[in-house]
Amino acid sequence: MTDRALPRISELGVVALVLCAISVITIAGSVPQRPPMAIVWALIGLAGAAMVVAVASLARTPLFAWSSFFLVGKWALLGYLVIAGMIEYAFVYDHTPEPQMAALSTVLLLFALDVPLLLGFAVARHQPAG
């Protein structure tokens, strides 16, 4: 049960990752001025939407190797939560202003959820369904 027709989770996950990266670059590139928050939030919104579509599409997929997906996903989630937590710690430590902090925290959350989704899907798509 490999290479069956599956939704484009990887592509959506990478799109979300790219949008997250652009939003962080926009914020970091504007320090110490206030970045264009409307653009930042638009990018974050699009990244979130891409992830929601990916998760919804995956949830509707019949015959998927869910056990492999969750096996990889849970450990990846743990690892990437640690990484995201460390980055969050650095932002808190640096007294990042509130509007930027809210945006960066949201990006970090999306990042910590997106990578396990990508990794879990990459493995599970080539495993027998069940």
Binding site: T2, D3, S10, G13, V14, L17, V18, A21, I22, V24, I25, A28, G29, S30, V31, P32, Q33, S68, V72, W75, G79, V82, I83, M86, I87, Y89, A90, Y93, D94, V115, L118, L119, F121, A122, V123, R125, H126, Q127
Partner: protein, 204 residues
């Protein structure tokens, strides 16, 4: 990783009895304490905000990240491509799990300490002469992060899980490994750009 793409799996003649799956650990658990130690040191470096500690983490992490990327992409990869198929598989099952821990650790060390270092030195300020170079480095890192996390790491994991099967699909492994070949040029270019940016920053 040019030519690793040609990996195919040959476990002897096909027969009714499935061969035993390869025995290896996808995540080298014994190396986890070292990773924890390195990350704990990073937290201390950031918390104490000592210039030497931040510089140490950034230079060591960044140097190793760039070195490993270029060495694997342009030296080790082509060598593996000329090895016999069983030797390539043997190499991959030992090499790739280590990369799974090594690269995210190096990337985390480099980026976290680099950002703090830039803050410490005042390079983050938009008025600083270093600022345009820093923004360029954000873009370069962004591209490398997307390739590493979105393209290479999923392929790496999928290959390792495939190699665990009693009868791995050689065609699938070759297809997944081709991603390393396609992206080696971009990663190499980005790493060279990183070297230019960092040496420029250090001599401003």
């Amino acid at each position: 990783m040019a030519d690793i793409a040609d990996v195919a799996v040959d476990r002897g003649p096909a027969g009714p009895a499935a061969p035993a799956p390869l025995e290896f650990s996808i995540v080298p658990v014994q190396a986890l304490p070292a990773v924890v130690l390195v990350l704990a040191g990073l937290v201390v470096a950031i918390a104490t905000n000592r210039l030497w500690a931040l510089d140490f983490y950034h230079v060591v992490g960044g140097g190793m990240w760039t070195g490993v990327d270029l060495f694997v992409g342009f030296v080790v990869g082509p060598i593996i491509g000329r090895m016999s198929i069983p030797a390539r598989v043997e190499f991959s099952v030992r090499f790739m799990p280590k990369m799974l821990l090594l690269m995210p650790t190096l990337v985390t060390m480099t980026l976290a300490s680099g950002f703090q270092l830039a803050r410490h030195l005042g390079h983050l300020q938009a008025g600083s002469a270093a600022h345009p170079w820093l923004v360029a480095s954000y873009i370069v890192v962004g591209i490398m992060a997307v390739i590493a996390i979105g393209v290479l790491e999923p392929a790496n994991l999928a290959v390792l899980f495939e190699l665990k099967k009693p009868r791995p699909d050689g065609e699938l492994i070759a297809r997944l490994m081709r991603r390393f070949v396609y992206t080696a040029g971009i990663t190499g270019l980005m790493q060279v750009a990183t070297l230019v940016i960092m040496t420029r920053l250090a001599t401003l």
